[in-house]
């Protein structure tokens, strides 16, 4: 027995080592898990099939049964390597066992062993694929699976041998204590070794425990207790019944002997001979014996083939025997270690009749029922475990995964995800709770973002509200400024106001920072500078003093870049100071650009004690100074290119001499074209001042009905200022009315620029009408027939006809998407 167990243990260890070697090989060749997977599975299946065959061929003989751990091979293949390998190994091992009968394997367990091995393969494949999701089991599960497989195997021995239960129980009794632990331990150790090789973390941390493991642990304890109680109870009951059965069986035979001898009527030696003859062939049950002693303690006779007289005589001291009552049953070892018998006796005159009934026969049904009950319970337990696993996975784990997936999507920002799980009441309620939470969250986020938007809007409103909107357009100069705020970052502003002595102050600035603080800082800087300038301070003094003021209590560390200039309207002299701002560009009358060479001073509110330096530049008549913030030159297109000073210069050259409104709008349009669809990152601010030629008149308007009066007034002023005679002014006004009303009514333009100047030396008046409406040349229109009667006359075309008639020259051109109509009038005055 001991050597048999040793052999089984050695073969188990060899299988564990083989598993480790194969696993290491697989680890080193990743292909075997991927593209060559099927080939590898077949190889593994064949290798373990061979191992199963070795199990059959080198089994351990013991008391007529052959013990082996063949089933461990398909289990290891299937559980630790893959379902196909398990099935192949099981089939090879099982089929070989079927034919092994021809070269010496046991016939008795042929079917059971074949089926058991094949089932082991399929079982392993099923568990690996359906339960473990193609992962290796932990060693505890491996042990349980090995045990369940082997229990099934041994149960099959019963089921395939109903006719010969006595033999079946003998085989099972021998095999159970060796094969079940053997197979279970082999599979368990193999799994453990792989776990160790893979440095798996053993999940002792409760955080890593799965729900199903907790449930199974609880269930295992309950089932084990039930198992012990049930089987204990069955054992007790069956023991009692078996004893009673044995006692009855023995008593019946003993009574028969007694009755027969009484019936015979013999006494003395005749009776002795009669009994000797009679008892020789009598059995109790199948294997039980009868022995008769005389009063001296010597054996008279016994069932043939029973024990030697000496053995019995030595064994049964009648005095001891008589300590038991007649008919009462007790157990005693008769000869060999397994020969335990139920024993009972009766006295018959001077004779003592002894009945011996082997326990193995008396307890057969008890043993069969005990083993089958236990085996079935183990299998049912296993099925239960697997079922719980499936239930939990289907009803709980899958739902939880879905919840987790949804939550992942929600936490990654998609708040429109609805969790919708209807697998059971608990999850429906969980889904609803999550949805509610997300909705609440969404609500809060919306509120918060609305608040932020409102704050940004407020800041922007403050920023805009500080900007003067009425652009001066006087006889000596005209000014236009524009600020386009970016969505978030901002802080640009401009300002202009008249100061003493026919002077005009202008400034362009950019506050660092954003939101309400920047807006407030801007207000402060703007007001401060204005109040300083209005008291008569020069630009450099104003900036120097403003810097001191702003540096105080400037905890937030904001600063502002400022270009401040004061222009003398009579002489065109600009005194200016620059606090870190982009220097302006002067567009000279010959379309040359003049960039300031002066180095800007330090930013305002950046450092206390800065002394700003004043500079001077003169703007001649007809020249324009263009001021801007870095939002213009640093406007970025989708290729991350900057608009830059060169593009700005080119744009300015193109519109040199134009009025400032047109100039600024042209530059803005050029920047927009360059930027394309890329978002605007910074405020874009520009301001231009043009020193007018003495007699030029130009007007930029938005061509709507209301603007007509403005245009008329403008030309009235022109006529008045230039003392245009009535005959001329009437023509001018008719021409303006005809051409401008056309622009208002038919061009669809959003912008019109009207330009009129008296060229005294040439004795003519030049008018120019420019609009950004649809391309239309009115000169193409056919002249109306002016000879028709009043009934036949149509009014269309008369207006432009009149213009052509009144003017010396009318010219149409289309430039930069604008219609330009130039009209020259001979000044007859």
């Amino acid at each position: 027995m001991i050597s048999g167990v040793m052999k089984i243990a050695v073969s188990g260890i060899m299988m564990v080592l083989l598993t480790a070697v194969l696993y290491r090989y697989e680890q080193n060749h990743q292909k075997l898990k991927n593209e060559k997977r099927m080939t590898w599975q077949i190889v593994i299946g064949i290798v373990y099939g061979f191992v199963a065959i070795c199990g059959t061929e080198f089994g351990v003989q013991f008391e007529g049964a052959v013990m082996n751990i063949r089933d461990a091979a398909p289990l290891c293949a299937g559980l630790l390597f893959g379902a196909p390998a398990g099935i192949i190994a099981g089939l090879i091992g099982g089929i070989e066992r079927w034919f092994a009968v021809f070269w010496g394997a046991g016939e008795y367990t042929r079917l059971a062993c074949t089926l058991g091995t094949i089932i082991a393969g399929f079982f392993a494949a099923f568990i690996r694929n359906s339960v473990l999701e193609n992962k290796r089991p932990g060693f505890v599960y491996a042990f349980a699976l090995g045990m369940v497989t082997e229990v099934t195997h041994l149960l099959l021995v019963f089921l395939t041998n109903f006719d010969d239960t006595a033999n079946a129980i003998r085989v099972v009794r021998v095999c159970t204590p060796v094969m079940i632990p053997g197979v279970a331990a082999t599979v368990c150790l193999s799994a453990l070794v792989l776990n160790l090789m893979n440095k798996d973390k053993f999940k002792f941390n409760p955080k890593n425990r799965k729900i199903v493991e907790d449930l199974q642990a609880g269930l295992l304890i309950t089932v084990l207790i039930t198992f012990v109680l049930t089987n204990g109870f069955v054992l007790l009951m069956q023991n009692h019944m078996a004893e009673k059965l044995a006692s009855n069986t023995i008593a019946r035979t003993l009574n028969d002997v007694k009755a027969d001898s009484a019936e015979s009527g013999y006494t003395g030696d005749e009776l002795t001979n009669f009994l000797a003859e009679e008892v020789k062939n009598w059995h109790i049950g199948k294997e039980g014996y009868i022995a008769i002693f005389n009063g001296d303690g010597y054996i008279v006779t016994a069932t043939e083939g029973a024990f030697s007289q000496e053995a019995l005589e030595a064994h049964y001291d009648l005095t001891n025997l008589y300590a038991h009552k007649e008919y009462s049953v007790f157990k005693q070892q008769v000869s060999g270690p397994d020969d335990i018998c139920y024993i009972s006796y009766i006295k018959m005159g001077k004779y003592c009749v002894l009945g011996l009934y082997p326990e193995s026969e008396a307890d057969l049904s008890r043993n069969v029922s005990l083993y089958t009950t236990a085996f079935f319970e183990i299998i049912i337990l296993a099925v239960l475990f697997i079922q719980i696993f499936f239930l939990i996975r289907e009803k709980v784990v899958k739902s939880m995964r879905k919840v987790n997936d949804d939550l992942d999507r929600i936490s990654s920002g998609d708040l429109d995800v609805r969790v919708n799980i209807d697998s059971n009441k608990e999850f429906v309620s969980l889904s609803e709770d999550i949805n509610e939470t997300v909705d609440t969250l969404k609500h809060y986020i919306q509120e918060a973002s609305a608040r932020i938007d409102a704050e940004l809007q407020l800041a922007k409103d403050i920023q805009y509200s500080t900007l003067p909107r009425v652009y001066p357009n006087g006889r000596k100069m005209e000014l236009y400024a524009n600020m386009m705020a970016a969505k978030e970052v901002g802080g640009d502003f401009y300002d202009f106001y008249p100061v003493m002595g026919n002077k005009f102050a202008v400034l362009v600035a950019d506050v660092s920072g954003k939101g309400i603080p920047a807006a407030m800082f801007m207000m402060k800087a703007k007001t401060l500078i204005k109040s300083l300038v209005e008291t008569g301070a020069s630009p450099e003094t104003a900036l120097t003093k403003a810097n001191e003021e702003l540096c105080e209590n400037n905890d937030s560390g904001m600063f502002v870049t400022v270009w401040l200039g004061i222009i003398d309207l009579d002489t065109g002299l600009i005194q200016y100071a620059n606090a870190g701002h982009n220097p302006p560009i002067i567009i000279r009358e010959n379309k040359e650009l003049d960039f300031s060479e002066q180095k800007p001073g330090f930013v305002l509110a950046g450092l206390e004690g800065i002394k700003y330096v004043g500079h001077e530049v003169t703007l001649e008549k007809g020249e324009t100074i263009f001021m801007y913030t870095d939002g213009v030159t640093e406007a970025t297109n989708s290729c991350n290119e900057l608009y830059g000073e060169e593009r700005l210069a080119n744009a300015l050259r193109k519109v040199a001499g134009m009025n400032t409104r047109y100039l600024c709008k042209y530059v803005k349009a050029d920047v927009d074209r360059f930027v394309g669809a890329a978002p605007q990152f910074d405020d874009i601010t520009m301001m231009a001042i043009r020193r007018k030629n003495e007699l030029d008149g130009s007007l930029s308007v938005k061509p709507d009905k209301e603007s007509i009066a403005e245009v008329m007034e403008y030309f009235d002023n022109f006529n008045e200022e230039n003392k245009i005679p009535l005959s001329m002014s009437a023509k001018i006004m008719v021409i303006v009315d005809e051409l401008y009303s056309n622009i208002v009514n038919y061009s669809g333009a959003t912008f019109a620029n009207i330009y009129c100047r008296l060229e005294q030396s040439k004795g003519r008046i030049c008018m120019s009408f420019e609009d950004n409406g649809i391309a239309y040349n009115p000169l193409d229109k056919e002249d109306p027939d002016i000879t028709l009667s009043s009934e036949e006359r149509e009014i269309g075309g008369l207006g432009i006809f009149m213009v052509k008639e009144m003017a010396e020259d009318v010219k149409y051109s289309r430039i930069n998407g604008n219609n330009i109509l130039d009209v020259v009038l001979r000044n007859e005055g």
Partner: protein, 98 residues
């Protein structure tokens, strides 16, 4: 523009002062339309009219066409500037100017 209306039984006299252009022409048109019923003679006094543009011409033409049906129309005190317009546009041929 200012319009002074003077109705004497079947004779309507309108003094038009200021400018007769895009802005003001609709006003005159409305006045004429509203006053013409039963009028046999329409007199437009352009003494203080500064100028007429095509929009004004349209109204004058409309009045002329209306009066062709129900009587006569004449323009009086037409200034040189306005006359210039009538000449250019051939209106002198279809209007009665005194």
């Amino acid at each position: 523009m200012e319009i002074i209306k003077n109705l004497d039984s079947e004779k309507l006299e309108l003094q038009v002062k200021g400018r007769l252009d895009t802005t003001t022409a609709p006003e005159l048109e409305e006045v004429i339309k509203g006053s013409l019923s039963g009028v046999k003679q329409l007199v437009l006094d352009f003494d203080e009219l500064e100028y007429v543009s095509s929009a004004g011409l349209r109204v004058i033409l409309g009045a002329q066409k209306a009066m062709n049906q129900q009587g006569e129309m004449k323009l009086i005190n037409v200034s040189d500037e306005v006359m210039n317009v009538f000449e250019i546009t051939g209106f002198v041929d279809i209007l009665t100017i005194e």
